[in-house]
């Protein structure tokens, strides 16, 4: 890797922000669930650790709605540690001394993989809303092309939280022979009505912003910052729990002694949400937000296969599902439904509900019991797969 010139203060180029990017499609167009085809597409990704000689130690990490490929390196735009830094690295649950970790930016994303922000090669203009609506299945298809490109027949593990967990389920369902173990965390086999409703609020906030220009903001040199920030603020509430909000903020006031009888951020919780909204718009594309939330809304494995057990017919995959007690976005009942379906196929499945008040976001945090569970499951699976101990 090139050493950064300390005198170089120019903003990062798109490709530098993306890390590794591979152009795919020459081997055949990517056929999407909508019926559209992408003749050429890019997948941006990061890797950590070393692929072993028989290419059996690859772990695919799948990110959530607003994540990206920068799972365990400093983010090129925010300089913050990767979103799963606590999970990936030497001696961490996804031990890079044992596993080769691959983290991709999903199709439809905005960190270098093909999505609405990128240039449509047929028109030389950004895709905008002419980008086809994609699904979780399409994201996984694109990832599978990357795995082909890397010459890996079978992933040791596909793991992710939230939408990443949906991808872990989709991988196991669509490519059972190519996945040794699947770890869907705080996930579900279908998006609930409540979750679709929250997503719709976010999308409407973006579309109500005058700067959105029906998705053509790039031609107007604007971005719908206010709309995207509101979308993020509303969504962020769903990632936390009432108990965590109370513990963290309560009714505490922000840098003031008393309420101001105005609409400033009097309360700490308001200030926190505003900050979340404002920092988000600097790193995320509004149209990507529309597309990815839509992909999650459309996810429904049971509908696609006739029933949920049918999505995992005689599956050889080893599963470990994890849910969190205070997660009301993807509650334990959602994971349990998947477990029931896997039992109906007599699949090899572990399921742990972790007691925490940190809500849906717990999957991103350093939760000792959660990490202990993952280490145990991964070690057990790795021994079965015959992976060398570090």
């Amino acid at each position: 890797m090139a050493v950064a010139d300390p005198m170089d203060v120019s903003p990062l180029s798109e490709s530098a922000a993306a890390g590794q990017v591979v152009e795919l499609g020459a081997e055949g167009p990517l056929r999407l669930d909508s019926g559209t085809e992408l003749s050429r597409f890019s997948v941006a990704y990061q890797t950590y650790g070393v692929l072993n000689a028989d290419k059996s130690n690859a772990v695919l990490v799948c990110h959530a709605l607003t994540g990206d490929q920068h799972a365990a390196n400093a983010h090129p735009l925010t300089q913050k540690p990767g979103w799963w830094d606590v999970m990936i690295g030497p001696g961490r649950p996804l031990d890079t001394n044992r596993y080769f970790v691959i983290s991709t930016n999903v199709l439809g994303g905005c960190m270098g993989s093909t999505g609405p922000k990128e240039i449509n090669p047929d028109t030389d203009k950004p895709w905008g809303l002419s980008f086809p609506v994609i699904t979780i299945g399409d994201m996984v298809r694109a990832q599978a092309r990357l795995i082909d490109y890397l010459g890996i027949d079978q992933l040791f593990c596909v793991i992710g939280g939230s939408m990443g967990g949906m991808q872990a389920l989709q991988w196991a369902s669509a490519y059972p022979e190519r996945v040794f173990a699947s770890v869907p965390i705080a996930a579900a086999s279908r998006h609930s009505a409540q979750n679709i409703a929250f997503h719709e609020v976010g999308r409407q906030a973006i579309m109500a912003d005058r700067d959105w220009h029906a998705g053509e903001y790039h031609t107007h040199n604007t971005t719908p910052r206010a709309g995207l920030a509101v979308a993020r603020m509303a969504a962020h509430i769903t990632y936390l729990s009432e108990a965590a909000l109370r513990r963290k903020f309560g009714r505490k006031l922000q840098d003031r002694e008393r309420i101001t009888f105005g609409f400033d951020a009097d309360f700490q919780v308001e200030s926190y949400l505003r900050h979340q909204g404002m920092t988000f718009v600097d790193r995320f594309d509004a149209n990507s937000y529309l597309y990815i939330t839509r992909a999650m809304d459309y996810f429904d494995l049971a509908a696609e296969h006739g029933s949920l057990p049918a999505a995992f017919k005689k599956t050889p995959v080893r599963f470990c599902l994890v849910s969190f007690t205070s997660d009301w976005l993807f509650p334990t009942a959602d994971s349990r439904e998947v477990v029931k379906a896997l039992n109906a196929e007599a699949a090899n499945v572990s399921f742990v509900e972790v007691d925490t008040d940190k809500g849906h976001d717990a999957f991103l945090l350093d939760e000792p019991e959660f990490h202990k569970t993952l280490v145990g499951f991964l070690n057990g699976a790795a021994d079965r797969r015959g992976l060398k101990k570090p």
Binding site: F351, V352, V354, F377, A381
Partner: protein, 210 residues
């Protein structure tokens, strides 16, 4: 046998060891009420068994999974009907039947999802139990039934003869039976005898569908 295997045997509770010795190497096994996973761990590490577990307590489940065992949180009364017929070679229910809401239904499920069901339970015909009730006029507590009446989870206790009657009613075949003392060691009575029902502290049955 290797020293490591000897050590593993020594660490396992006697009744679980007795169960383990009934299970063929490499079999598919479901342990219902697997607790901390001691039997599953022994079976998978020493016998190459493809083992799964169901455990009601979340702490038990988390301990099992963090030791690499395939275990889910669940309940014998509600979760067995998820599994397809004949999904396992053996289904083990150790000292749990008496704590289920519907032992008759659970027993029927065991032999449906497993080719063979191995069941152990405390014998309520054991003489100390009878003594507690007849001579002392108190609800029996013994080494295997340690909790007092107001906090015990054992809501459906039975004697060995009661159990055999239920197996008959369900048309089950008894492939193997053993009487164990409180530490789980086999004491060699014939379980049909009234003697066994009087002196046996716990019983083990291997059952299958006729």
């Amino acid at each position: 046998m290797s020293p490591a295997a000897d050590l593993a045997r020594a660490a396992l509770r006697a009744d679980l060891l007795f169960i383990a010795d009934l299970i063929e190497p490499g079999a598919r096994v479901l342990d219902i009420g697997c607790g901390d996973g001691a039997l599953l761990h022994y079976l998978s590490s020493e016998r190459g068994v493809d083992g799964r577990g169901i455990e009601i307590s979340q702490t038990g489940v988390n301990a099992c999974v963090s030791h690499g065992l395939s275990v889910i949180q669940g309940n014998a009364d509600t979760d067995l009907n998820d599994y397809p017929d004949g999904a396992f070679d053996y289904v083990v229910l150790s000292r749990t039947l008496q704590a289920t809401r519907n032992p008759r239904e659970v027993l029927a499920q065991l032999v449906r999802i497993g080719r063979k069901a191995i069941v152990t339970f405390p014998n309520f015909g054991y003489w100390r139990v009878r003594w507690n009730l007849i001579a002392l006029g108190r609800m029996p507590t013994t080494r295997l039934l340690a909790d007092p009446w107001y906090s015990t989870e054992n809501i459906h206790l039975c004697t060995i003869r009661d159990f055999m009657q239920l197996c008959d009613d369900l048309g089950l075949r008894t492939e193997r039976q053993a009487i164990l003392n409180h530490t789980g060691h086999n004491i060699k009575f014939r379980s049909t005898s009234r003697f066994a029902n009087f002196f046996g502290e716990q019983a083990l049955f291997m059952l299958s569908q006729r």
